[in-house]
Amino acid sequence: MDGNCTRREWLLRTAAAAPGAYLVGSSFGRAVTAPTAPVAVAKCKTYEPAELLPTLEKIFDQLGGLGRMVKGKTVAIKLNLTGAPTYRLGYLPLGDTHYANPQVIAATVHLMGKAGARRIRLLESPWSTADPVEEYLLQANWDPHEVLSAAPKVEFENTNYLGRGKKYSRLTVPYGGYIFPAFDLNHSYEDCEVFVSLTKMKEHATAGVTLSMKNCFGITPASIYGAGAGVDEPNESPKGGRSLIHSGYRQPSKSAPAEKDPTSPRDGGYRVPRTVVDLISVRPIDLAIVDGVKTMAGGEGPWCRPPLTAVNPGLLVAGINPVNTDAVCMALMGYDPMADRGTPPFERSDSTLRLAEDVGIGTRDLQRIEVIGTSIKEARFDFAAIRRQRLLSSPANRTS
């Protein structure tokens, strides 16, 4: 590809020169026909319930209301609690930097209960443990009761292993899969009628950004896909992270489907975005909620290479379609959602958004996405500028 031309420009040129029939089944063909749904954006400066709750309620209403989506249904919410709860960025609470904030979780649960959800299940596969999620939260200095009491019939489940299920749910990738043809997951991802990804607006060391789609990387049980996964059968005492997926140094437990092509690149920038798309295809996201009130710039957690900065974009974003939602989030972060490998923030990875668009999950083209509420221009918080500054001041760019 011409280095002076973005992939989108290249596709447009190619498309202009090609007969219409050529587009059918092509990447660009899927891009122009990929689904689109409104994305709601609101400014929210603090996690104070007096500001947060009405703001969240408003953006859910702008999407058509939660009642339409959750009334009488079992809702599963995948939280974003990445990394061990004993890591902090400086002295800041985890919910102000890299965990989805507990107030956002509680407010969402409350509004779902109010909208008539039959049962609300809060899911996470926490770092290296099969302990109850509640215990994990306590280590982060959160009181799980505050979330559990926000609505009737609320419960947590640790999905890092078999959990309360009798067996793993085997879910098949409808398009065959980029990396995996199917996954064995904790029952919770099958036993729900509405699936919500509630995440933090962040950059990501491997995948460029982590938003509603990348959050679902963590639906994989470490018992099968973790560093300590059993070779033949799942290890029900899960240990370690998901380096197995990142680098492909080994296969999941043999009881689960192996990856399609063990000769494919063993590069996290290739594998992680593709695996994420495979995962959100087996367990589609019905509602994406992105907490950008307070977060961090420079990586997905305090373990990333410094400099890392706590930031306060003061934003809440929600959408029905995760690709659309993540595309709007990228724009809000000052990035081009049409960017791909080689262009920030995807210097070393493929774009999860492009890969998801290619398989028809949703468009990342802002021109095809309706933004409701605050405009992108009004709400933008420029992570990209912070990134440029960071790169300029990095030792590699300093002259002696």
């Binding site: 004993t86 306590l138 240990k239 370690g240």
Partner: protein
């Protein structure tokens, strides 16, 4: 201190001037005779290395710190069962030895295994015993002993820091009289067929930073269980009738018993919640957690106990501490508390912080490198204070004052 064999010149005793070293363990060698004579003249107590003096119990320890890989590669740490670095510490052994031999001083015998150790490693050795009320028998590696004898600047600097650290704890002997704060009591005779499991459980419970109390089953009294949330009884034989009654009274009053199938007849009724490895029962106001299989894996026993009790009730909670060890004690009158913290990893990132259950008015930070304490930023939380520590090395202690009986651990004893 263990007198280095190569220090044959009595003038080397001058190195001890003004330090807290008052006892010399000397190997029987004719050529050390002049040293022994001079030492006695100068008021040092001298004994043969193989025979500790009366009133002292020597605990055989390990060199404390993050354990290196079997290959000895300095850049590779051996991993614990969770992938976290494995830490060797003698703190639990000091406490157990003190409990088993009340009224005696506990000295820790841990000699350097490496040909040369960093200064920081020595400071950890001093603090790892002293924080828990023991004394490390200062033992120098050959290279350091040679360097000190040869008046090498770097070696003398290390020596100054080692004796400085020993002096720090000697000046705070009253801290040794402080009482351990605990959420869990571990009941056993800690001997015979119970030795392996209970000793290793003490070691691994300490690694979780769960604060525990050692309860000798022959010495249980009413106060043994005061302020505890739970007790662990993991001995191979069922408890004697009287002990059983005492433990069940604790449970009935709201405590938790964690035990194995050998406990015998079960009281109470099945609880509704489930645990993969324990059957849970309610009894009176409290609960019993009875392991479904024999308790034989100390790692599981230690970690399960923390979760069975719940992190909600932990007395100390760390962030960015790395491989941290801790010991939380209060003065007998409860007016002061000290949180001892040992940072075993030599490289740490981030800003460490610790949440201490209870309410306090002031906090002062002591470190080995400063003569005066520093103030610490303290955030008041519900039932706790959170202390934001500056970058600290090897050892730090926070002295807290103004305890008030509020919060989870404000229960009167």
């Amino acid at each position: 201190m263990r007198w280095p064999r190569m220090w044959k010149d009595p003038s080397a005793l001058g190195l001890l001037k003004g330090t807290a070293v008052n006892y010399l363990l000397v190997e029987r060698h004719d050529d050390l005779g002049p040293v022994v004579d001079r030492a006695r003249q100068e008021g040092f107590k001298v004994t043969e290395a193989a025979s500790p003096p009366a009133g002292v119990t020597v605990a055989e320890g390990k060199w404390p710190g993050v354990k290196l890989s079997e290959s000895g590669a300095v850049d590779t740490a051996a991993a614990g069962p969770t992938g976290n670095p494995w830490v060797d510490s003698n703190g639990w052994k000091v406490r157990l030895t003190a409990a088993l031999h009340p009224g005696t001083e506990v000295w820790v015998e841990a000699t350097p295994k490496e040909p040369r150790l960093f200064t920081e490693s020595y400071l950890t050795a001093v603090a790892d015993a002293a924080a828990y009320g023991g004394r490390w028998i200062i033992s120098l590696d050959k290279q350091l002993a040679e360097g000190i004898a040869g008046q090498k600047t770097e070696a003398l600097e290390t020596w100054k820091k080692i004796t400085g650290a020993a002096g720090f704890f000697a000046a705070r002997r009253d801290w040794s009289d402080y009482l351990p704060q605990a959420a869990m009591g571990i009941i056993s005779d800690f001997s015979g067929q119970n030795e392996f499991l209970t000793h290793e459980t003490l070691n691994l419970v300490a690694r979780t930073n769960q604060q525990y109390r050692i309860v000798l089953k022959t010495k249980v009294s009413e106060s043994s269980f005061s302020s505890l949330r739970a007790v662990l009884y993991a001995d191979a034989e069922p408890p004697a009738l009287e002990l059983r009654k005492q433990i069940l009274a604790f449970v009935q009053a709201g405590g938790m018993l964690i035990t194995g199938p050998k406990w015998g007849e079960l009281s109470g009724v099945l609880a509704t919640d489930e645990h993969p490895r324990y059957t849970l029962r309610t009894f009176g106001k409290g609960r019993l957690a009875v392991a479904k299989a024999d308790l034989d894996d100390p790692y599981l026993v230690a970690n399960d106990s923390v979760v069975l009790i719940s992190h909600r009730y932990e007395l100390l909670r760390f962030w960015n501490g790395g491989a941290v060890g801790s010991y939380f004690t209060t003065a007998p009158d409860r007016k002061q508390a000290v949180v001892h913290m040992l940072f075993y990893a030599s490289v740490r990132g981030g800003d460490p912080s610790v949440r201490v259950a209870g309410q306090y008015r002031t906090a002062r930070l002591w470190t080995l490198d400063r003569k005066a304490p520093r103030s610490v930023e303290m955030e008041i939380q519900k039932d706790a204070v959170e202390l934001h520590l500056p970058p600290v090395s090897q050892y730090a202690a926070v002295e807290l004052e103004g305890w008030s009986p509020r919060g989870s651990f404000g229960r009167k004893e």
